[in-house]
């Protein structure tokens, strides 16, 4: 009698345990399923773009100006425009972002001003990109009279990716151990010397990663460029930044009108003629390829630098 109830309750417990273990397995399956379907979307997206855009993925496409005829149209002015804008964006956002991060991480005293700066940086990271476009329209285009130029576009995107660079740089500065700083101070270095000679070199990897991620975000941004008035039909190239004679470079291109890869793609997507959808797919494949490549490089850089440094 006694033995039977013991066995029965043991069986009940066993059944309960196996039911709960089954739930565990089920969740693992569901988790993997959800995760891989999310990744599958990425693959489908890329394959779809390449397949649809395949007829246009040629050198001619890279070397032609936009045209009213879908089969003759290309992205020459678009990728040149994007490259020039990225040049401005990198040149502005890198020094400002890194400097701001150094201030917040290494210098800032704990006071109300620092608190205000911190709140602003976190808040700016969440501001929709189109709001940056409206800011640029009101400030750069109307107030500073930069017009619808490469300079205005570059400055807009710089502001947009500033929070990304600041956050990434701070994280990488924070990962440098205190002992490194204290050793440098002990040898009589000033704060700037400690930062420039010791902390910054150790955080180069993290800063580079942040920079690349930031630029990869900027390269695909469309909305803010539309609000400042990017044109989609530009059949000429801006003046080259480099010259064969003295002074070898010029800044005339900063003031010129521009188009960019995402703008060109958007223009093609919004046309009813299906022939243009092929162009849009090809432009999208190139744009997505560039973004994924940049992100891949960022992951690799982070990995390499992490491996090289052993505290």
């Amino acid at each position: 009698m006694h033995a039977i109830t013991a066995e029965a309750s043991l069986n009940r417990i066993r059944a309960d345990v196996s039911r709960r273990k089954l739930l565990d397995t089920l969740f693992v399956i569901v988790g993997l399923l959800v995760m891989f379907s999310a990744l599958l979307v990425l693959v489908v997206l890329f394959v779809d773009l390449v397949r649809e855009g395949a007829p246009k993925l040629t050198w001619d496409f890279l070397n032609s100006f936009p045209s009213r005829k879908a089969e003759r149209a290309g992205i020459l002015s678009a990728w040149v425009g994007t490259s020039l804008i990225m040049l401005v964006t990198a040149a502005v956002s890198m020094p400002v972002g890194v400097a701001a991060a150094i201030y917040l991480e290494e210098y800032a005293p704990k006071n109300w001003m620092t608190a205000i700066i911190e709140v602003n940086v976190t808040n700016l990271a969440g501001v929709p990109s189109i709001i940056y476009g409206l800011l640029a329209l009101g400030l750069f285009v109307y107030q500073f009279n930069l017009g619808q130029s490469v300079a205005a576009a570059g400055l807009t995107l710089s502001l947009l990716i500033l929070p990304i660079i600041i956050v990434a740089t701070r994280e990488s500065l924070r990962s440098v151990p205190r002992a490194i700083r204290e050793a440098a101070y002990a040898l009589g270095a000033t704060r700037w010397e400690v930062t420039a000679h010791h902390v910054l070199p150790y955080s180069t990897g993290g800063i580079l990663t942040g920079m690349i991620i930031g630029l990869s975000r900027a390269i695909g941004e469309t909305a803010p460029l539309i609000t400042i008035g990017a044109l989609s039909f530009i059949a000429f190239l801006p003046e080259s930044p480099f010259h064969s004679e003295f002074p070898f470079f010029s800044f005339a291109w900063l003031k010129e009108a521009f188009t960019a890869m995402p703008i060109q793609m958007f223009n093609w997507v919004s046309r009813p003629d299906p022939a243009f959808q092929v162009n849009a797919a090809a432009a999208g494949a190139i744009l997505l390829g560039m973004t994924l490549l940049m992100n891949g490089v960022a992951i690799y850089v982070r990995y390499r630098f992490r491996k090289r440094i052993n505290w």
Partner: protein, 308 residues
């Protein structure tokens, strides 16, 4: 300045004096760079308010908030923001219906179940979903997702909020997943161990100990996801149509606040026309909406960080 330092440090070598002075200049420069963030915020607020003032001089605030028609580009212009807000909310809801379950499941899996190696390779790949240019997502929604949906839902129009919302949802999965996962990982291990010691399985520990412990962080992840979805522009501008439409039905086409701003920017309205100024008023509403979500999200994140 030089005298001051020299006075405070009599007998200091010239090199040191120079280095100390240089440090002060550097610090001032760095502070200036950090203040750019503050100036940007101020500039955003000033630009939006100043540029939308002429609009609000013409349109009363009551009309703006209660009128059910938004037709600033028509001859008989009406300026009720409600249709745009409704469009924004509907696409956001659809996006959340995708991103919240998917993001949470992925976060629980990565934080509680995944082996270390898998987690370290999957996380960067998932982040790529958030890195895809939104114009590319827009193309995907219009040319791939909509035709697929049309097979499932006969009569679905070519432009609809459903496909735009679904794709926004996919885009924000990594935001939701990574913030939730951070929150779950912040739950101390002794709580998990206590639960295992009582005979709980991993799934029970995850759902009854870790998730409740990380709840404020998970809520923050949802709210940050909402803020992303509300501000998303290109996907809706391409795939949801540009007609303001006061409806709660996601299978219909409608414009969002962001899509309207794009539409006007693409057009050739003169800059001093009221139609043009209306984009700043719309931007102001958008800014206020995201600001509320961001503040709520960040205060929640701060709370979960301090909890343990």
């Amino acid at each position: 300045m030089t005298e001051q330092i020299a006075l405070s440090m009599p007998g200091a070598p010239a090199g040191l004096r120079y280095r100390k002075l240089r440090d002060r200049f550097v610090e001032a420069g760095l502070l200036l760079a950090a203040l750019v963030a503050v100036f940007t915020t101020i500039a955003i607020v000033v630009v939006l308010v100043v540029e939308s003032l002429p609009f609000f001089r013409e349109v009363s605030l009551t009309d703006f908030l209660t009128d059910t028609m938004w037709t600033p580009l028509f001859a008989e212009a009406r300026y009720g923001i409600l249709p745009l807000v409704a469009g924004t909310l509907v696409t956001t809801m659809v996006a959340l219906a995708v991103a919240i379950p998917a993001g949470t499941i992925i976060a629980i899996y990565l934080s509680e179940f995944a082996p270390y190696k898998l987690r370290e390779t999957i996380k960067p790949s998932l982040e790529l979903l958030g890195a895809v240019p939104t114009v590319v997502y827009g193309y995907f929604a219009l040319m791939f997702v909509t035709p697929v949906l049309q097979q499932l839902i006969p009569g679905l129009p070519g432009f609809n909020m459903l496909s735009a919302g679904l794709v926004i949802g996919i885009m924000i999965i990594p935001y939701v997943a990574s913030v939730s996962e951070d929150a779950m990982r912040a739950v101390p291990n002794y709580m998990r161990e206590g639960s295992y010691a009582m005979g709980a399985t991993r799934f029970q520990t995850a759902t009854r100990v870790v998730v409740p412990g990380a709840l404020s962080g998970i809520a923050a992840a949802f709210i940050l996801g909402i803020s992303r979805a509300v501000g998303e522009t290109m996907i809706v501008a391409i795939a949801a149509g540009l007609q303001p439409n006061l409806t709660w039905d996601p299978t219909e086409p409608a414009a969002t606040i962001t899509a309207f701003i794009v539409q006007v920017s693409l057009g050739d309205l003169p800059h001093d026309s009221i139609g043009y100024q209306s984009i700043f008023a719309a931007g102001l509403v958008l800014m206020l909406m995201t600001l509320v979500f961001n503040i709520a999200g960040f205060s929640l994140t701060r709370r979960f960080r301090e909890a343990y």
